[in-house]
């Protein structure tokens, strides 16, 4: 039975997360937790001339939050900070490409929140 949510590539990113780990000399380093489940995602970003040179994420969480973080880091590499700022919730959800139930939205968007708060000090509304 194919699962709508736990697709092959989601499970792959969960089991084999890309860019997982820490960066020693990160320029941006931030961590957020999801108060409803206690899950954590952190991100280290190295920039050069306003461009994201390298990025790693760490933390623990469900398949959705980890796959979302893994996918986001892939996208971020080589992107300008300016462009990265434009990444929206909808972009992240589209990239995930699966149907997300409301209760899991926070999981799917946790990595984005880390980026937004860490890199731009944008405190998203808690909703």
């Amino acid at each position: 039975m194919a699962d709508q949510m736990y697709r092959e590539y989601i499970l792959d990113h969960y089991k084999n997360p890309r860019n997982f780990g820490r960066l020693e000399d990160a320029d941006i380093s931030h961590e957020e937790n999801n108060p409803l489940c206690g899950d954590v995602v952190g991100m280290d970003i190295k920039t050069r001339d306003g461009v994201i040179d390298d990025v790693r994420f760490h933390g623990r969480g469900c398949a959705i939050s980890q796959a979302s973080a893994s996918l986001l880091t892939e996208r971020l590499k080589g992107m300008s900070l300016e462009d990265a700022r434009e990444i929206g919730k909808q972009d992240v959800l589209e990239e995930l490409g699966i149907e997300i139930s409301p209760a899991r939205l926070k999981c799917a968007l946790l990595a984005l929140k880390v980026l937004k708060v860490g890199a731009y000090g944008l405190s998203q509304e808690d909703e």
Partner: protein, 422 residues
């Protein structure tokens, strides 16, 4: 006859602003309690609830009864969606900037205490001044007494004039003493006085004070626009506005809520708990500890829908007409003395009065025997009773479902009381 619409034009009032009259006969069919034949003139105490509200809660209990936020299954998602949709409804209802400024409480009293504990204990220091008024309900008075006591702050009261309006000269004089906080009611539950919230707030702000407004009577009967009036806090109760008991709302400006420490602590309001210490969520969740009154919040949403479906201008016009009629009729009875302003834009549908030679309790007991429900006593405004120099009052209050015939029954009952005590 004053038929003016609400002085707080409701931002989303969907009713015809020209005041297409309420169809009270149809409305009363939504309230099964009227089948008992009771003349219910105590809505300022607690309102009746329409079928729509009770059914909405039943739907929750029967179809998606689950806790909110905590769980990741559909039942809980539906409950959470309904619960949070009401927050947005409330936001629109009082025109708050953000739904994060809407804190669910167990009622007006709890909301005012939240401000006293959380804001008050953090920000007040010895010698600071709090300004309150003599017309306040105990719920907007005793919390400030306790706070002032704890902090050795000063508490001063604005008096009323002979018609039951706030003495603006005293208000101004107290503002010159630079209070930290000014607390007053939107509408007096005893006098029916509608305070000019926007003006008073602007003056208080100019004097550097924060403004807490008790909206227990204002929200149900006039509606309120928190941005237009620019108040800092506004508290009200569901049960006075056709919603269920057990729930209420505290509006607070986001920046204030952000800076305030939590009040009650427990589940849901935390961000991370360690044995060594805890971090808290953002408002409004920071102030919503433990399992909330879920069914009741959902019922409140249905109540707001109900009220907005009728529209505040029409409701206000209806209550105004009743108030005019009752005021005139009561004025014609010998020995009846009415407290508070005469009908007009600064008077809500609340009439308090006494009957010479008959104690309010005896009046209400005799009225009750004819099926007429009115409040008697101090109406939780003892200081105002002392100010008026009465033991208590009889209070008749009106709402969207009140009909003229109920006022006629009130008048007949009063005559009967006078006959007995003659």
């Amino acid at each position: 006859m004053s038929m003016s619409t609400s002085i707080y034009e409701h931002p989303t009032g969907s009713g015809d602003p020209a005041g297409a009259p309420l169809d009270v006969t149809a409305i009363r069919r939504d309230f099964p309690i009227f089948e008992t034949g009771v003349a219910y003139l105590d809505s300022a105490n607690t309102s009746q609830r329409p079928n729509q509200v009770v059914q909405k809660m039943e739907e929750y209990y029967r179809q998606y009864n689950a806790n909110v936020e905590r769980a990741a299954y559909k039942l809980s998602e539906q409950a959470t969606a309904e619960f949070e949709a009401v927050r947005e409804k409330v936001r629109v209802f009082i025109n708050a900037r953000s739904k994060n400024e809407i804190v669910y409480t167990s009622g007006t009293t709890a909301g005012l205490n939240l401000v006293a504990y959380s804001w008050g204990r953090t920000n007040l220091k010895a010698g600071d001044l709090i300004v309150c008024t003599v017309m306040e309900h105990h719920s907007n008075l005793v919390p400030w007494q306790l706070l002032a006591q704890e902090k050795q702050a000063r508490l001063e009261f604005v008096d009323i004039d002979e018609q039951g309006r706030l003495r603006r000269d005293q208000f101004d004089a107290l503002l010159r003493q630079e209070p930290r906080l000014v607390a007053f009611t939107h509408v007096s539950n005893t006098l029916g006085t509608v305070n000019p919230v926007k003006e008073l707030t602007a003056e208080a702000h100019a004097a550097g004070a924060l403004v807490v407004v008790d909206g227990a009577q204002g929200a149900p009967h006039l509606g309120f626009d928190v941005q237009a009036a620019d108040v800092d806090f506004y508290a009200f109760s569901s049960h006075k506005m056709c919603g269920p008991t057990g729930v209420g709302v505290l509006y607070g400006k986001r920046a204030l809520l952000d800076a305030m420490p939590p009040f009650l602590a427990g589940g849901e309001m935390i961000s991370a708990v360690r044995l060594e210490g805890t971090t808290f969520r953002e408002p409004p969740h920071k102030f919503e500890a433990g399992t909330q009154a879920i069914a009741e919040v959902i019922g409140l949403g249905a109540a707001i829908d109900y009220l907005q479906g009728l529209g505040y201008p029409a409701m206000r016009a209806h209550e105004d007409a009743l108030t005019d009629y009752a005021y005139e009729s009561l004025s014609e009875l010998d020995g009846v003395r009415i407290f508070g302003p005469p009908p007009g834009p600064d008077k809500a549908g609340v009439l308090s009065f006494d009957v010479a030679g008959i104690h309010p309790h005896d009046v209400s007991t005799i009225l009750d025997r004819t099926g007429v429900c009115v409040r008697s006593g101090h109406n939780c405004t003892q200081p105002l009773m002392h100010r008026l120099d009465v033991a208590g009052t009889v209070r008749a209050s009106f709402f969207l479902y009140t009909e003229r015939a109920e006022i006629d029954r009130l008048l007949a009952g009063l005559k009967e009381a006078q006959r007995i005590f003659a």
